[in-house]
Subunit: 317 residues, 2 copies
């Protein structure tokens, strides 16, 4: 098994939006990428996806030797994984397909090489059941587009060994990702659960004629969506409490948890949950006082708005 | 009743984070602001809140004649609203307090002047019950900080007349806000419903030991939170479907609506809901092709990340 930093070749299985996005990311970081997909036009599709991503990747800065020419689309799965130090599977979101494909990948991938699945929400425990070497199978869940959004959620299944989860986490960090390593399987992982709750509330509102698609998007782009890239939902509410932070916020606005403001019932705001939220926010804030965080938020919101405005419409980088 | 564009003086009732934020916004737009709060240290608190906001507002660009010196804190409510062309109420989130205060404000505010409440989620119908002139009472719900986040949700109650909702929407637009005018009352309005669904899922995860506060914030700041200020949740998923857009996304990923990825049950994905989502995304995209939107998203995500990074830590603008 290679060290994460010694890997030079990655196999990308699947030529969809996510598979192509991963290929673009690894190519930009200077890797040799070997790809496979059963579709007859896989090479053309991957070429198109990588080409579409390349201007953004160039703007971000390419690693030495990075080139779209380092992509090789192979006619078989076995050829694609040959010589790879890591395998990223990005097949369609279908449990049977994933299960079968991961078993096939495990069968032909050299011993000790970690195989990660881009699944949006299946647990590895249910996907690894047919694989002969399930101990090296992990979830490595990216966000679209994988070449720009840093987050990757890493979690193993019941048959996954701890070293594989650690290895994958370290490898993703090495290739520039922001990694959340989860101790336990959770359907939808963390980010998709948050996103999905918001999405389902949005769908309910459209289904009931309470809001239009455009009102929903405007509500986010011109509202809380401007705060979330800065501090996330918890630290954002830490500031809503003024100098009292999350403690004041929960003690003061706690009752609104009982309000019918969403179709999702709130948990009981126990003393323990309150204290966990407060301690979590204080840990995350670290040395930064509330005043520091407010100033940081204000600078960032202005900069984010300007960044989005400058990026709309025009063709310039 | 003045035209929205002819207003020169605004009354801000309440000296908390939201009331102070509104005062700062109106001051920066060149208005005379008359404020009142029953707290004995109201003037000091408002002065501090405006001073904290002023660097950001200066960076954004002040209107001609704008100055913190145009804030006058009055000893009584009646003096504060005297001569005001618009009143913004930002009292604590307590229904009895709001009800009583709005009645008091309506009693002393000149005829025909619109009075807006910053309430986070009460309906105007339940808040206007004690007011003698409920026809001019509307909700004007901002997001923290009101001097930077553009969104204001405007909606009337059962006793509100249509002209007041229109007047308030026009006035907020005139002072630089992004306005969503809602036809019907909905608890939590639109943005808070979306935000609250995400927040409750986050609290459930912490309560169950499924994720930490820091993991939740990282999941958003380094994940979907980077896309939301660009396109909002609907247009973001329009791109997740590749060239097929929202139609492909719903037809393909529709089954994940049944997955246990959040504690919020999904609505039935009827043909009508599907078609409404597709038509809404296509309307919103307008002339922009999927490829245009992808390029726009990529430019914006890079710019947003850089904006957030540059705003962290350092004290520079």
């Amino acid at each position: 098994m290679p060290e994460p930093k010694d890997v030079t070749t990655v196999a990308c299985i699947g030529a969809g939006v996510i598979g192509g996005g991963w290929a673009a990311h690894f190519l930009a970081r200077g890797y040799q990428v070997r790809a496979w997909d059963p579709a007859p036009d896989a090479a053309e599709r991957l070429g198109r996806l990588v080409a579409a991503a390349w201007p953004a990747l160039t703007e971000l800065g390419l690693a030495e030797g990075a080139s779209p020419d380092n992509l090789t689309v192979l006619p078989t799965l076995a050829e694609a994984v040959a010589g790879a130090g890591f395998v990223q599977e990005s097949a369609p979101e279908d449990l049977d397909v994933k299960r079968r494909l991961l078993a096939d990948i495990a069968e032909v991938t050299p011993d000790g090489v970690v195989i990660a699945s881009s699944t949006s929400g299946y647990g590895m425990s249910e996907m690894q059941t047919e694989a002969a070497t399930p101990e090296r199978l992990v979830v490595g869940h990216p966000f679209n587009p994988p070449y720009l959004i840093p987050l990757v959620e890493v979690v193993g299944g019941k048959a996954t060994e701890a070293w594989a989860v650690e290895w994958a986490s370290e490898f993703y960090r090495h290739v520039g990702k922001s990694v959340i390593t989860m101790d336990n399987e959770l359907p939808g992982f963390i980010a998709n659960r948050l996103q999905e709750a918001l999405w389902r509330e949005a769908l309910h509102m459209v289904a009931n004629g309470e809001a239009t698609v455009e009102q929903i998007d405007t509500a986010i782009t011109d509202g809380p969506g401007l705060r979330w890239p800065v501090h996330g939902p918890c630290l954002t509410f830490h500031l809503a409490g003024g100098e009292g932070g999350m403690a004041h916020m929960l003690d003061h606005f706690g009752p609104s948890l009982k309000a019918p403001w969403t179709r999702l019932d709130a948990p009981e705001l126990t003393k323990r949950l309150r204290d966990d939220m407060v301690a979590g926010c204080e840990d995350e804030a670290g040395e930064r006082s509330i005043a520091d965080l407010v100033a940081e938020r204000d600078r960032a919101i202005i900069a984010v708005q300007r960044a989005v405005e400058a990026s709309r419409g025009g063709s310039g980088g």
